[in-house]
């Protein structure tokens, strides 16, 4: 007891403790935890008080209540009698749809532009540069408004729609495509799956053969590749012979019968694609010029053509530089798809954080769910791209 008392009153011991990094670390972190906890409690208490004052319910029961509003585009069955939970799913699938298509198209356009930036053709490289500088420096929101209001909505009314090839029409209500229903869809899917599996197996065998010498005769291997390529084509021809095509026909107010794509979706897809492609082009250019000059010269010395050198030597190495920032662009595109709310495409934010929030008033739950969904999408994309990156990146010598 007396011992403890002397230790507590020993001034030197206290001074030592105050200057001890370990003691400081513990105290500092304890303070941080305390401050964070205080802020969190304050927020929770205030929110509870405010919600009670405004008579807003809390909890997630609202997800099972009837929504009572319509959604202009939906991949899932949805009517105004569906629940808020179903409205959430519709918004989520719409977001995923536009993000997935946007990622594919923006990658294709971005690679073309990035390669054109380094083209020996002066005009091609300057035009690609002009495109990148023009698109990168204008806000995406403005570009979406331009595509939606100034371009797509400025098309003529259905009566004088612009006729496109293959029986398609473009008017201010969107793009109307022929609807093609292939016969024997099940067989088609099965044959494509079988061909993919065969190709994957052949590729694996080829890798093993490269290491330990061929196990099968080359003609057998070529036969396998021909089979993998030919079977789906034959099945496709067979199923398109029995396919039914419904062309869009001008009804009383609108084109009917075909596959109609809403102008909101088109504007968002075009805007996201063209905007992200400008950033991807710069990434691709940086990646391609990041490959040492000697590699290009070595490829030329081996007698490879420019195209072969690009495909076999430059691109595989450039991909190692390109993939991490490319992942960021994919995530940006997905997050930017939330700007759909400005042009009325029913994505997650527009349907859920917009309409559902306004109707139920349950801001906390709705916004937390929305943020959690985007976080999950970001995390999943990052994980998938990291796995892909781990496969493409190879060890330095």
């Amino acid at each position: 007891m007396a011992d403890l008392l002397t230790r507590l009153t020993d001034r030197k011991a206290w001074t030592r403790a105050v200057y001890d990094p370990q003691v400081r670390a513990v105290v500092f972190q304890a303070l941080l935890v305390l401050v964070l906890a205080l802020v969190a409690t304050e927020i929770v208490l205030n929110t509870a008080a405010n919600l009670k004052k405004q008579n807003i319910a809390s909890g997630f029961d609202f997800l099972t209540r009837t929504a009572g509003f319509d959604v202009s585009q939906s991949l899932l069955p949805y009517t105004s009698k569906s629940t808020y939970g179903q409205a959430f799913l519709v918004g989520l699938t719409n977001t995923l749809l536009v993000a997935a298509l946007g990622v594919v198209l923006a990658t294709a356009l971005g690679f073309v532009l990035g390669i054109a930036r380094l083209s020996p053709n002066w005009l091609a490289s300057k035009l690609a540069l002009a495109y990148v500088e023009l698109v990168r420096n204008v806000p995406l929101l403005l570009q979406l408004l331009i595509w939606y209001v100034a371009v797509l909505r400025a098309f003529p009314a259905p009566g004088d729609a612009l006729a496109l090839p293959f029986g398609a029409y473009l008017d201010k209500r969107g793009l109307h495509l022929p609807h093609i229903a292939l016969a024997h869809g099940g067989w088609l899917a099965l044959s494509i799956l079988a061909a993919l599996a065969l190709a994957w197996w052949l590729k694996r065998r080829a890798k093993q053969d490269q290491k330990s010498g061929p196990a099968h005769s080359p003609s057998l291997r070529s036969a396998g590749w021909v089979l993998a390529g030919l079977v789906p084509v034959i099945v496709l021809i067979w199923s398109s012979l029995g396919a039914t095509v419904r062309y869009p026909v001008l009804g009383r107010f609108n084109y009917e019968g075909g596959l109609s794509i809403e102008p909101e979706f088109l504007a968002l897809l075009i805007g996201l694609t063209t905007y992200t492609a400008a950033f991807i082009a710069e990434i691709v250019r940086a990646g391609l010029s990041g490959v040492p000059r000697g590699q290009r010269e070595a490829a030329a010395a081996l007698g490879l053509s420019r195209r072969q050198a690009l495909r076999l030597v430059i691109l595989p190495q450039a991909l190692r530089i390109i993939i991490p920032p490319l992942t960021n662009q994919y995530l940006n595109l997905t997050k930017n798809s939330s700007l759909a709310v400005a042009i009325g495409y029913p994505d997650l934010v527009s349907v859920f954080s917009g309409t559902v929030l306004n109707q139920t008033g349950q801001a906390v739950e709705v916004i937390l769910i929305t943020m959690a969904v985007y976080l999950l999408i970001s995390l999943a994309t990052a994980l998938a791209m990291n796995a892909f990156n781990a496969r493409t990146a190879w060890a330095e010598r």
Partner: protein, 375 residues
Amino acid sequence: MTQESSSSKLSPHAARRGDPQRAFLDWAREALFPSPGQALVSLALIVLAGWIAFAFLEWAVFNAVFSGSDGGACRAAPLGACWPFITHKMGLFLYGRYPDAELWRVNLTYVLALAGLVPLMVPGVPYKLALSLYMLLVFPVIAFILLSGGVLGLPYVDTALWGGLLLTLVIASVGIAASFPLGILLALARRSDLPIVRWSAIGYIELVRGVPLVTVLFMASVMLPLFLPPDVTIDKLLRALVGVALFSAAYLAEVIRGGLQAIPRGQYEAADALGLGYWKKMGLIILPQAIRLVIPGLVNSFISLFKDTSLVLIIGLFDLIGIVEQSVQADAKWFSPQTAATGYFFAGAVFWIFCFAMSRYSSSLERKLASRVRS
């Protein structure tokens, strides 16, 4: 013009021959028509570029309307730009509904900002530290008093009246100024040895970077009032500013962290050897070097923040794009087929000039930094 000038750049031996026409032809053959395939591509691109340029001129000049006091003349020319819409609304686009009699206050704020920014951005001008302190500590106070008023005999101007380019600039600069110290703290915390501090920073940064700005703005506009005590009301603009600052702090933190990581270990160890404590080590040795290293990245963050300010349209604030959009959609007097396109073109041009100038500045800094490192 540009072809002439770049011809001398691209093939000096041709230019040396002294015949500019010959030099141009040589250059064109080398750069545009080296092989039949490339020649076809070049021809197609020349047609494409010419078509785009002609279509633009047709819209902006040949078919355009240049005068008029309402949309009547524009309705008569459905294929050309409606320029009087811009000239008549210029005040609205630049200042929002800020009272005409008080506009000198906005302009004075711009002049004071330029007086601090220009010498700060031009390399070689002394007093950089004093200027940065002026911009970070003194200028914001003066700007707030000037713009908002209510003291010193200046009439109060409600933030609901601020709009257009003024609001865009206010949100972007307050956003960057407020998020800068926060970003430094987050970057330091993320590289801290204390696990709780580090994991809090990682959690915050990754959380914010994983969600779109739109949801953060929704949160700031809908949830922030719920978080505060019931008797506190918070200005709509302030809510947006809080959202923008919290959002961009996470991105700035990552940029600054890049700079911290690039500082050689020896600098940290030298500071330790001198007996400097953590804050002195960071404030005097590490941060000055790290921040100078990432200035191009900071400018790039500012460019994206500047573009992102347009999103406040979604929570009902009228920045440049918001006010153009509102005038396009809601003003029946100026309704015409090309009003929207003209308005968007104007807003796009203003944003483009700002962003392009900033990106040029950032890349010139980058080149300067790169050359300094190499030498």
